[in-house]
């Protein structure tokens, strides 16, 4: 598949549920089923992690997922096989670190990776260790192949940097709900609303998806009610995969649990729209 990214359609209409899983966690076959379960749960777009050995932006939950996937034999080549074998229609975003993108192919630089990823059906990229300063070459490669580059907006991002990120990005903006690394938390940070408001002030029409710490119906609802266009959920889902792996639970059971939490989060996001609407009245 090539042509254009399908990400815009994911945010076209109701609030989006954007789950994350590390491809190949805890092994290739189970992971395929887990990702497909998330589509059944109502995922509008899936962030599919390509495991890197030094995941500096991840908390312990996703870090362990990355370790499991790498130990389970995940490689860049296997990742592309994984993507082509996946039976989903949901747009896919490749989430990984820059070194893997940079090293792929015969020449150093992001173009060969983007070309291959586009051919396998990846719609866009999130690269946590690539700030706007270094993102030029990847942005160009994405333009060339009709893919999206999703930037992360942090609570510490000031006005000037925010505008730069908005100008650089396509697909959606990943609004980091709080400082720190990925990981499920009990409540949604006040800084989320602040960040959403600041992004709105730039006048961008890019969808705003909030991630970092979202794990429940209530949080998904609150984030959408605060003005987000989507919720990104990683660690809470990865926890289910980890537990299934540790307790030797059948893959189908873990998949069913992922689907259940996925539905809950999607419903939470939908409920957020109603809250938002009632607030507006």
């Amino acid at each position: 598949m090539s042509g254009q990214s399908h990400i815009p359609a994911a945010f076209d209409g109701e609030p989006a549920f954007v789950p994350y899983l590390a491809a190949g966690d805890p092994n290739y076959e189970a992971s395929l089923e887990y990702v497909e379960a998330l589509e059944r749960a109502g995922a509008d777009c899936i962030e599919l992690g390509l495991p890197f050995s030094e995941p500096i932006a991840e908390g312990p939950t996703i870090q362990q997922a990355v370790v499991r996937a790498l130990e389970g034999g995940m490689t860049v080549e296997r990742y592309f096989e994984f993507v082509s074998e996946l039976d989903v229609d949901t747009p896919l975003v490749c989430m990984t670190y820059y070194n893997l993108i940079y090293r792929y192919g015969d020449e150093e630089g992001p173009e060969p990776f983007v070309e291959r990823a586009a051919a396998e059906g990846i719609d866009g990229f999130v690269v946590p260790d690539l700030p706007a300063e270094e993102a030029g070459p990847l942005r160009e490669a994405c333009d060339e192949h009709g893919r999206d580059l999703v930037s992360i907006v942090a609570p510490t991002t000031g006005e000037e940097r925010l505008q730069r990120l908005v100008d650089l990005s396509s697909g959606y903006l990943y609004i980091q709900a709080r400082l720190g690394v990925t990981g499920a938390r009990a409540s949604v940070s006040d800084r989320t609303s602040e960040s959403l408001a600041r992004v709105a002030e730039t006048g961008t029409d890019l969808p705003r998806a909030v991630g970092f710490g979202i794990s429940s119906f209530e949080q998904a609802r609150d984030v959408i009610a605060a003005g987000a266009d989507g919720v990104i959920v990683g660690s809470a889902l990865v926890d289910i995969v980890a537990e299934g792996h540790e307790t030797d639970r059948p893959v189908a059971e873990t998949a069913a649990e992922l689907e259940e939490l996925g539905r809950e989060l999607k419903e939470g996001a939908l409920a957020g729209t109603e809250t938002e609407a009632s607030q507006a009245d």
Binding site: F52, A57, V76, N99, Y102, D129, I152, V153, T156
Partner: protein, 439 residues
């Protein structure tokens, strides 16, 4: 060299360098870049004056440059040792730790975090933080904690928290990842004292500049001791901070305001050969299957990649996954190297060479016996290069070796590693074994 390059420019050294960090850290990196330019490069508020004063009164600078009589005789060249092992704390690391902690204070930061491998940087940071009355937390791989207990204790008695890192192999690479995570959570109040010339801009330039006194003193002391600059300077290279510390004024004289004019007028820097000695470990070959490099020789065998915030030479597999490195010296056990050093090697200004674990251990015992100086296992690599050289006189008439640190911290490792080998110059090891022995 242009003004922009002298000032660290955009943090690029040829193809290397840059700022590959999460967005949440970028505002802090911008703030730090601004502080580096104002306080370090422009001496605003007398920052550099205070830094030099504290280096002298607290740190004990200048450190001596002394002739190694027995080694000079052995190799048939004049061997001089730059004694960074005599700096407060026992290693060159204090230059940088003190500089960064002081800078953090000028920036109004309240808390210090740092990573450490051999523990020497952690010790220096804990000392500097205590000296400046700042709370300090150190991240250290579990494996390194077990290899370096005396340093862990030194950090603790200086009031620092030491956080063990269990993931991965439990060495420096993992400790850096963990410190980055802490920093990403606390970035608004905390400064991350990176321990080498690695990481995102401005760290490589800034850390080099805090270590420049090694180089400036070496120039002046060489002229005092033998009337001219040395023919060769030899330093060990892991991340590369002592390396760039002693090379910097030979590469780019007068890089900072207030540099002693005598060091600039010495001239002919290009005539001084610079050798960066890496850890060849047990082999330069790589186990692709297991993703393990049994060495830490990223300058000699690494390929271009992005690690811990910078593009540099990295030990990695064909996919770009970072390999586990190895060295008998935990201070050199790192899969990357400073971007400036990588560029200087590419440009041919610095020669990257390496020696293996056995040669380093032999050199450890040799210096201890011949000169009464117990070197760090890192430093032992630099000394081993003299021995490994077929004809040391090819290095020239005067050779300066940077004694980057003292070996007290490595005694446990040295006992263990010596006992497993048949070294020609090791003391009788039997006394260290069994009941009543030292262990």
């Amino acid at each position: 060299m242009s003004e922009q390059q002298r000032r660290g420019g955009d943090g690029k050294f040829g193809e290397y360098g840059g700022q590959y960090v999460p967005e949440a850290l970028m505002p802090a990196i911008e703030e730090l870049t601004d502080a580096y330019e104002r306080y370090v490069l422009d001496n605003e508020d007398g920052f550099m004056d205070e830094f030099r004063e504290r280096l002298r009164d607290f740190g004990g600078r200048p450190t001596p440059l002394g002739r190694a009589d027995q080694l000079s005789e052995r190799y048939g060249v004049e061997v001089y040792l730059k004694r960074e092992d005599l700096l407060h704390g026992g290693a060159h690391k204090l230059n940088n730790a003190l500089g960064q902690c002081l800078l953090a204070k000028y920036m109004g930061k309240e808390r210090i975090v740092a990573e450490t491998g051999a523990g020497q940087h952690g010790t220096a940071t804990a000392m500097a933080a205590a000296h400046l009355d700042m709370p300090c937390e150190i991240y250290m791989g579990r494996r390194d904690i077990n290899r370096q207990r005396p340093n862990v204790f030194r950090m603790r008695i200086n009031g620092a928290e030491v956080n063990p890192v269990d993931i991965g192999r439990g060495t420096l690479k993992e400790a850096i990842n963990e410190t980055m995570r802490d920093w990403a959570t606390t970035v608004e109040t905390t400064h991350y004292v990176i321990g080498s010339i690695v990481g995102p801009h401005p760290f490589p330039s800034m850390v080099r500049d805090f270590h420049r006194p090694i180089s400036a003193e070496t120039k002046r002391q060489s002229i005092d001791a033998f009337g001219r600059l040395p023919d060769a300077v030899v330093a060990c290279a892991g991340g590369g901070s002592n390396t760039m510390g002693i090379f910097s004024e030979f590469v780019d004289a007068g890089g900072l305001p207030g540099t002693d004019p005598a060091t600039n007028e010495a001239g002919a820097e290009d005539d001084v050969d610079l050798y960066a000695v890496e850890a060849g470990g047990s082999s330069l070959a790589v186990d692709e299957e297991r993703g393990v490099a049994p060495n830490s020789a990223s300058l000699s065998t690494g390929t271009e990649g992005v690690l811990h915030g910078a593009r540099t030479k990295v030990l990695q597999d064909a996919d770009g996954q970072i390999m586990e490195s190895h060295s008998v010296s935990s201070g050199l056990d790192y899969a990357g190297v400073g971007p400036e050093l990588a560029n200087l090697v590419d440009e041919g200004r610095v020669d990257a060479v390496n020696v293996d674990d056995d040669a380093a251990l032999e050199a450890f015992h040799r210096l201890s016996q011949a000169e009464g100086i117990i070197p760090a296992l890192e430093t032992a690599h630099a000394l081993a290069y003299l021995e490994e050289h077929d004809d040391p006189s090819e290095l020239g008439e005067y050779v300066v070796v940077n004694v980057s640190g003292r070996g007290d911290k490595d005694l446990e490792s040295a006992i263990e590693e010596t006992a497993t080998r048949d070294l020609p110059n090791a003391p009788e090891m039997g006394v260290f074994e069994g009941e009543g022995g030292l262990r």
